[in-house]
Amino acid sequence: MNKKVKYETEEIIRGILNHDRIVITYVYKVHFILVKKYVTSSSGTDEDAWDVFQDAIGVVYDFFKRKDSDLSLTSSFSTFFYAVCFNIWKNQLRYKNVRRKLKDVIIEGVSEDEWDLAEIIRSNTQMRIYLKYLDMLSEECKKTLELVGQGLNGNEIADELGLGSAQAFYNKKRSCIKKILELINNDPEYQNLNDYEKP
């Protein structure tokens, strides 16, 4: 067990990119409490805070994934991370129709054109909603959708799933996608995500 108490910004970011359990646990332990405190003190619940935290980790991941090998920030990791969280929560409040207006928080050290924050946040919120409903599908559908992502062809997947033919797999896949699209479409957060997009 790594007993290190503090990590440098780059170590944290590299840890998140590499799915390093120790580093991510560290980030969780240090930052989640504060995010929770912030969210619950501005009209949110513990669950909202957890949603924000997850989305924020996803945003950090996407941001540095795009930047390739440059893992530097002009600010500290926590300044950067909280700014991301604040912006996510600000968006969430807008979806939730809460009147309370939060101040804009500028994310230091990241220029506006360097990333499309709104789009990255949106895709991470989508991922969270998708995973929530994926978990509700039957084991068979979960497996099917998992295999779809692995770039195997229809026959290979049919074999893996014990289905007779590629056609049987395509039918299965279609019914699973249909099911998850239905579930996602009925999710209020997802509906807001799309409404919000309309001009």
């Binding site: 998140i16 799915h19 359990r21 991510i24 646990t25 969780y28 332990k29 989640f32 513990d46 669950e47 957890w50 997850q54 980790i57 996803g58 991941y61 996407d62 989508q126 991922m127 969270r128 998708y130 995973l131 509700m136 599908l137 039957s138 959708l145 998992e146 779809v148 992502g149 692995q150 395509y170 279609r174 996608i177 249909k178 998850i180 699209l181 239905e182 996602i184 479409n185």
Partner: protein, 244 residues
């Protein structure tokens, strides 16, 4: 999603030339089709983003591990709401007793004594808890999506409340043998809040499936106990004897 099949073909490049032309033409005017296509592509992208999915799974694991103290708190709250809810359920069942008519065939007896249980739990506030599939299942049960509810309950076969509602879902779907199994499990797992309900519904299932002997055995037991279904069971036994 109306156009799923067409969209899949389009995305996979399987549309014939004339269909392809038509599809592209339709995309320009048909907002619904356009939205559905975008949604399909988004979901496929999410499904294929294994790396992000793994990261989120890891994060959730860490969250679970660190939420132990919160979980304990949840359990206590959960128990209170269980007791409150089962009292509510019992009252609901008791109330319908007065509305009952004398009918005689077993089928009719079942129909007059069985009414859909409500999942009147505060499901939302408990949704962050540990037996999440059960909570989700209850939500689907309430929405009368019994198949999806059963998918959820089957994930935690040892959860007593899940098994009770799994049984009730099977009744709603007319799968009485499966329902019987669930109720038996609840009864066998002694010492829980749901035995009264499980016995009552088990007996009703036997009645419905013409296993009169088994049904009578349970109704007699319930009528002899001091549970909430006592009067109801006595009444049902009377009706049953009349019909013989």
């Amino acid at each position: 999603m109306k156009n799923l099949e067409k969209i899949e073909k389009y995305v996979n490049g399987e549309l014939e030339e004339s269909d392809l032309w038509e599809f592209k033409k339709a995309l320009e005017t048909d907002v619904l089709l356009k939205n559905e296509l975008r949604q399909y592509q988004e979901v496929m992208e999410l499904a294929q983003n294994k790396e992000k999915q793994n990261l989120m799974a890891l994060l959730n694991e860490i969250h679970q591990e660190n939420e132990v103290s919160t979980k304990k708190l949840f359990l206590n709250r959960h128990k209170v709401s269980l007791i409150a809810a089962s009292i509510l359920l019992l009252f609901a069942v008791g109330g319908s007793l007065f509305l009952m008519l004398n009918r005689n065939s077993q089928e009719e007896l079942f129909a007059s004594y069985y009414s859909t249980e409500s999942a009147s739990f505060n499901v939302r506030s408990a949704s962050a808890g540990m037996d999440q599939p059960v909570m989700q299942g209850m939500q689907f049960y309430e929405l009368q999506d019994y198949n999806t509810a059963l998918d959820m309950f089957s994930k935690v076969p040892d959860n007593i409340m899940g098994r009770l509602y799994s049984g009730l879902s099977h009744i709603e779907l007319g799968e009485f043998d499966k329902a019987i199994n669930d109720f038996k499990f609840v009864i066998k797992h002694n010492d829980n809040l749901f035995i009264d309900q499980a016995e009552w519904y088990l007996a009703l299932c036997y009645l419905k499936t013409n296993q009169t002997k088994e049904a009578t055995k349970y109704f007699e037991k319930i009528a002899g106990d001091r549970g909430f279904f006592k009067t109801k069971a006595q009444k049902l036994l009377e009706d049953l004897n009349k019909s013989k």
